[in-house]
């Protein structure tokens, strides 16, 4: 009996120690946690309408007050049935792969109590393909989806125009909006305009939070939804979410350090070392995740004085006048061989840059491990330039080379180009200066053209640049996005993203094959994407300077910050911050 008593005492003591840990999340009921305060460095939101959202700040709010059609797994980043905050509970494909039948969950309602049904998906689809709504979603679905039908409130049947191995990703672009409410607020699709008052004061929502208000220049305020259940806790724990506008990075970081802001999702470069050290010292939680972009140098392979589309109205390839310098692949290869990446990384990125060889990022399933970044080899660079007809005619390495038998430029043309970049980013500023210096050593003459972002976009889309530095990327798990950057159909001066005017028939053929491969076997598709990446690697239409790790700092007051590989904030609606 005495022994039993001892055991009981030990168990009670153990329970006293362990219970608070186990009950940490459960301690705070729905909406009982302190509000999450996030800094918004992107300016005021422009809309909360899922059909119209086109900027990061607005998307941050939309993602908290509207459901997704199809959601991603936070670990793999791939679409999965039944993902949190998504309405698609399951899906299947017809034998020919052309018809996708999606079954919706039936346990979720809009904030006014109306059930979320297939009609809400249908309304969104009809709106974006109507031609009356200026929606960024349109271009992601219209070219691929033949029709969308809703035989019953819990079923959506999507018919694709052709067999598409990216069908689920295409479908995931569809929005879910409260059809019963929208049809009242917007009598016709043409009324869904950016200027509508509904956009900044949504009447009906469904997500971890409900919309409370928008205070221009100050914050967007959301309050916990009482009906949301897709969190590890089974409800939304924070009382609300405050998306606070912060105009200056110094204030942003200092407010975080002072406890006024809950997390910083992208620590500014000049504070990264300090924040990492303080995080390591336990002052707050610190995490780095692979960036979804690379810093890339784009080569304009066509004549910037005569920007043309990649294809004519009938879809035929237009042969373009090559760029006098970068129209020759050997010059582009010489360029990348001339760059000392290690020095660039140390000088411009404080050693944090991660070299990449191909278009896909290392965290992607389609990453081609065989593609090592081009080696720093000035001799090879000079040899390639000689071979391409750009010679050092005065034997003075300090002076630029000139054309002598070059395929794309008249004899005597100086190997001179403008390297365009945008202001305001320290690593970009430093890297273009270092690059220019290194390129000078092999005979290039570089004219730095550092301009504001708007004019840079003009040059980029207008294809009037020579070489241009920008942050860009393809979807981590969407290798098909490569065609948007390098396909001739995207080469449309003034609009398309095929701004390098690169054209390679085999590349386009491989991309099409990977998209429409019967059976959609992932390994077989990866092999095709590997080949496509190899072509890009060999032809160097763009030079991948590097990618990086994005540092994230989260308040030590968040007990259950559990980042996942492809979803750092996946459980944010369950963050149990003790109330003040």
């Amino acid at each position: 009996m005495k022994r039993l008593g001892s055991v009981v005492v030990v168990l009670v003591l153990l329970a006293l120690v362990v219970m608070p840990v186990i009950a940490q999340e459960g301690d705070l009921g729905p909406g009982e946690g302190a509000p999450i305060v996030a800094g918004n460095f992107g300016g005021d939101i422009s809309t909360t309408n899922p059909l119209l959202v086109n900027d990061g700040a607005s998307a941050d709010i939309v993602n908290r007050i509207y459901p997704l059609f199809i959601g991603n797994d936070p670990e793999s980043g791939l679409p999965v049935p039944g993902a949190a905050r998504s309405v698609a509970a399951d899906w299947s494909f017809s034998e020919d792969g052309l018809v996708m039948t999606v079954t919706l969950r039936s346990d979720w309602t809009w904030s006014d109590g109306t059930p979320i049904t297939s009609a809400d998906v249908k309304y969104a689809y009809d709106a974006v393909i109507s031609g009356e709504v200026d929606s960024p979603i349109t271009s992601f679905v219209e070219p691929y989806i033949e029709s969308l039908e809703t035989p019953d409130p819990s079923t959506v049947v999507i018919t694709f125009k052709e067999l598409d191995c990216t069908a689920v990703q295409v479908a995931a672009n569809l929005a879910v909006v409260p059809a019963h409410h929208y049809s009242q607020v917007f009598p016709s699709f043409a009324d869904i305009t950016a200027e509508s008052e509904e956009n900044l004061n949504p009447g009906v929502t469904a997500g971890p939070y409900n919309f409370r208000n928008f205070r221009p220049g100050e914050q967007v305020t959301l309050v916990a939804s009482e009906t949301y259940t897709d969190t590890p806790a089974g409800y939304t724990v924070p009382e609300g979410f405050i998306y606070k506008t912060v105009a200056d990075q110094l204030v942003w970081v200092e407010q975080f350090l002072a406890g006024d802001i809950t997390y910083v999702d992208s620590v500014p470069e000049d504070r990264q070392t300090e924040i990492a050290e303080r995080g390591a010292a336990g002052e707050f939680q610190y995490y780095t995740s692979p960036a979804g972009t690379w810093q890339v140098l784009l080569f304009n392979t066509a004549d910037p004085a005569n920007a043309q589309s990649g294809r004519d109205e009938d879809g035929n390839v237009i042969e373009q006048t090559p760029h006098p310098i970068f129209g020759d692949v050997r010059v582009r290869q010489a360029f990348v061989h001339a760059i000392d990446h290690a020095a660039l990384n140390a000088g411009a990125f404080s050693g944090t840059g991660i070299p990449v060889g191909g278009m896909m990022l290392p965290q992607s399933w389609a990453y081609n491990e065989a593609l090592a970044p081009y080696a720093f080899d000035p001799e090879m660079a000079m040899s390639l330039l000689d071979e391409a007809g750009w010679v050092d005619n005065d034997n003075d390495p300090e002076t630029p080379r000139v054309a002598q038998g070059a395929a794309t430029a008249a004899d005597g043309t100086v190997l001179e180009f403008a390297l365009t970049s945008f202001t305001g980013n320290p690593s970009v500023d430093s890297s273009v200066i270092l690059m220019a210096d290194q390129l000078t050593n092999v005979g290039f003459k570089v004219n730095l053209d550092v301009i504001e972002f708007g004019p840079m976009v003009d040059k980029l889309l207008g294809q009037t640049y020579d070489a241009l530095m920008v942050f860009w990327g393809v979807g981590v798990n969407s290798p098909q996005d490569m065609i948007d950057l390098l396909g001739s159909a995207s080469d449309q001066p003034g609009a398309g993203f095929g701004v390098t005017s690169f054209y390679n028939e085999e590349f386009e053929s491989l991309m099409q094959e990977a998209r429409t491969l019967p059976g959609c076997d992932e390994a077989a598709r990866k092999a095709l994407y590997d080949q496509a990446q190899q072509i890009v690697y060999d032809n160097v239409p763009m030079y991948f300077v590097n990618t990086s790790l994005v540092p994230v700092a989260v308040s030590g007051q968040v007990p259950n910050f559990e980042p996942r590989k492809n979803g750092i904030f996946w459980n944010q609606a369950a963050w149990a911050i003790p109330p003040q």
Binding site: R212, G217, E218, V251, Q255, D260, L461, G494, A495, G496
Partner: protein
């Protein structure tokens, strides 16, 4: 005086239009905003042209200016009531060349109270300005009330104590605070008093909360301390130097010596006779000062995260958001005209030699 004010206001009309024309021309020269506004995958040239046509940014800038000024409902209109434009003057019926007429113009122009819609925020530009005005006004009024009297007072005391320690110290500080860049001073104050000493908030207009609005000014004075100091320090330095110099001129004038010889006390002489006349140069500076304060201070508002007109106008300029830029320009132009008018009126009040008729 009424007739004088009316006359000045009438004279201000061409100045106002001059300012708007110059601003519009400069802004248009900075480039077309459509590329940045449509920077997204899948955007087609046709779609881009349609957006450009809707915004009217491909028209020559004088047409754009005219549209901004007087609207476009008379430039392209529907005479049959079918919702499709069938007549146009100054602008083409089919602006984007797709074979279809553009929708009828629906802008009324600023002369009819329509300041346009922000390209980026998709809201009326006037609303955006009005939303930001209270923040700027509370800072500028506080800075004005602090900076102007303090600067004048320091100038008077420095002049009275000419050559003594107060005079020397105030002169050195005035030069120093005139020379110190605002952004540096603001950051230093923020780092010292907010970050290090934790005596004041790290920027913002009020405490972050789930509330629907900021509480009244009286409940959040701590948020105004640093920005008001930064905004007013230049005024204090400038006014003290002007006032000191002016006072030194005046107190050596014959009429001041005469007043003293007649037995008036030194204090009575300085305040009643010297200070009033020494204020005349201050009146000159008050107009531009008022304009500066009312227009919002970009650097101060940015560093202290104070959502005023300066902050929003800076963002609008970098995004080439013409309607917002022009709305702020009008506001600043009106503030300038009023500022200079007030200066002139103050001349008359301070200097009895000036007559408005």
């Amino acid at each position: 005086m009424f007739r004088y004010i009316v006359r000045r206001l009438i004279q201000a009309i061409p100045i106002f239009f001059g300012i708007t024309i110059l601003s519009f021309a400069l802004m248009s020269a900075s480039g077309n905003p459509v590329a940045a506004l449509t920077f997204r995958p899948g955007m087609t040239p046709e779609e881009r042209d349609r957006i450009a046509a809707r915004l009217g940014v491909n028209d020559p800038w004088p047409i754009q200016y005219l549209r901004w000024l007087a609207g476009d409902d008379w430039m392209r209109w529907d005479s049959t009531g079918d919702g499709i434009a069938d007549h146009a003057i100054l602008v083409p019926l089919d602006a984007n060349g797709d074979g279809e007429p553009e929708p009828p113009g629906d802008r009324r122009g600023i002369l009819r109270g329509d300041f346009g819609t922000s390209f980026t925020k998709k809201r009326p530009a006037l609303d955006i300005l009005v939303e930001r005005l209270p923040a700027t006004l509370e800072l500028s009024i506080a800075a004005f009330l602090l900076g102007t009297p303090l600067g004048i007072l320091i100038g008077i005391i420095a002049a009275i104590n000419h050559g003594k320690w107060f005079d020397n110290v105030s002169r050195i500080l005035a030069v120093a605070f005139t020379a110190i860049p605002t952004f540096w001073f603001a950051i230093m104050l923020l780092l010292i008093f907010s970050v290090q000493l934790r005596l004041l908030p790290i920027g913002d207009r009020c405490k972050t909360s789930l509330d629907d609005s900021c509480p009244p000014v009286t409940e959040r004075l701590q948020y105004m301390v640093l920005p008001v100091i930064v905004l007013s320090i230049g005024s204090i330095a400038g006014y003290s130097r002007v006032m000191r110099a002016s006072m030194l001129d005046v107190i050596s004038a014959d009429y001041v010596r005469t007043a003293r010889a007649k037995g008036l006390t030194r204090r009575m002489t300085w305040i009643r006779h010297a200070a009033r006349n020494a204020l005349i140069p201050i009146a000159t500076a008050l107009g531009p000062e008022l304009t500066f304060l009312l227009s919002g201070a970009v650097v101060t508002e940015t560093i202290f995260n104070y959502p005023g007109v300066g902050l929003t106008s800076f963002a609008a300029v970098t995004q080439r958001d013409y309607p917002v830029v022009m709305t702020v320009t009008i506001y600043a132009a009106v503030a300038t005209i009023i500022g200079y008018l007030l200066s002139d009126i103050m001349y008359g009040l301070i200097d009895p030699r000036i007559r408005f008729d």
